[in-house]
Symmetry: C2
């Protein structure tokens, strides 16, 4: 039984059910556990002794909220953390999560000049820009943000789906068209070194070959069975589990 | 600089500030992180291979909510978990947390006969009955519950303050008087093997000599400084840190 890769529709359906009367989770709870798992995955790969400075890039949706939670936990883990969030989400939870970051002396910036400055003094990027509800094309200001992140050559940890990738179709093979009237301006998709999938991986990352973690130790077994997720076991009390690339899985079976 | 032990009043003040506009945490967030830390502390000491069955005893206040969160995480960690909760709290969050346990096939019972049955088929108890707002005497039905827990001779992990202890005065040296008109019926205080203090330890556990963990990696440094908590460093991405008994601390300094 292999792990199920989710379409955007099924991913949304699982999230909705987890927060329905049946699942009974609040957004606060799920965002806390998701963001915490992202922070733990980053820390698993990028030791703070060698990579002390983390730049968390947050989008305007729920994934931006996961990013704010991750930034706070990374702060508690001892990383020097900053946040780039050009379009804060409108839900009140984002303001609360941002205040929690403020209380950790985590600086949040929103303009491209600040992003350039932050990139010059960071060791690793957490990409919490677009989640599974992203639909191309990449809109401003993110059409300028993604190329800046790529050009920084910093290692990137992406949450759920690398920003700029199609949730189901995967990495675009040619630049996505711009939408700002600049006439087909090049928009990059990110090529992360590490991916942390939440709940279950999305269809678009089937061919992803970097280090791949799964987080979301909050999906009850009955939900996992209902949606045929075939989730792996998480070890001990860990909040993330590393998934092996299909070739490694085969190797292990031989 | 030594760790500060909190009075009930200061513990309440810190909780209030964490959830004020300044702290910006929601009850859902803090309860999730607190309960998760309790589950991790228990798992650190009681390996599920040797202690697979955990009985979580929940009181009617916020600590009962921490217990429900811990029960769910213990379920995810692979423990066979059950909950005893004779007086569910009235806030709606308790109902949601209970539904989350139901979804994990965690059985919740509320009467003393069921407690006796559950004790006979458990390996370790998580005591989430009374927290730092507890004021003696122990009221029904807990005046009967605590002696049953003690008589089970199962190992006990207490949250914040062992149930039956005075939050500031510590373990009562003589039985607390009953309040049910039965004329001074004996009421036991628990003697836990493990204690998990949340945020910072309470004055009443200064003389506690079992294994002692601290959880609550959510108190911003500025809050810690304001309240003079002198919190220890948490290692790596751990959610709990073990506190050494004063004698061990001295030994380490020599």
């Amino acid at each position: 039984m292999s792990l199920r890769y989710l379409s955007a529709r099924v991913a949304q359906q699982i999230d909705d059910e987890l927060m329905s009367a049946a699942g009974a989770y609040s957004l606060d709870q799920l965002m806390e556990l998701a963001g915490q798992a992202c922070a733990v995955a980053l820390a698993r790969v990028y030791d703070k002794a060698k990579y002390p400075r983390v730049l968390v890039c947050c989008g305007p949706g729920n994934q931006g909220g996961d990013g704010l939670v991750a930034a706070r936990h990374l702060g508690f883990f001892g990383y020097k953390t900053s946040v780039f969030m050009p379009k804060p989400g409108s839900k009140e939870i984002y303001q609360r999560l941002k205040t929690q970051c403020d209380n950790m002396q985590i600086l949040t910036t929103s303009d491209l000049d600040s992003l350039k400055t932050a990139l010059a003094s960071s060791d690793v990027i957490l990409d919490a820009i677009f989640g599974f509800s992203f639909k191309p094309p990449v809109r401003a200001p993110f059409d300028e943000v993604l190329p800046l992140l790529t050009r920084s050559r910093l290692p990137i940890v992406s949450v759920d789906i690398p920003s700029g990738w199609d949730v189901e179709g995967g990495r675009p093979s040619s630049p996505l068209p711009g939408t700002d009237g600049s006439g087909g301006k090049k928009v990059d998709a990110l090529d992360p070194d590490v991916l942390i999938s939440l709940t279950a991986p999305k269809e678009g990352v089937r061919e992803y070959r970097g280090r791949h973690f799964l987080g979301g130790r909050f999906v009850p077994k009955s939900f996992g069975e209902k949606f045929g997720l075939n989730l792996p076991e998480y070890p001990t009390t860990d909040l993330v589990v590393e998934l092996l690339a299909p070739s490694e899985n085969t190797a292990n079976k031989l």
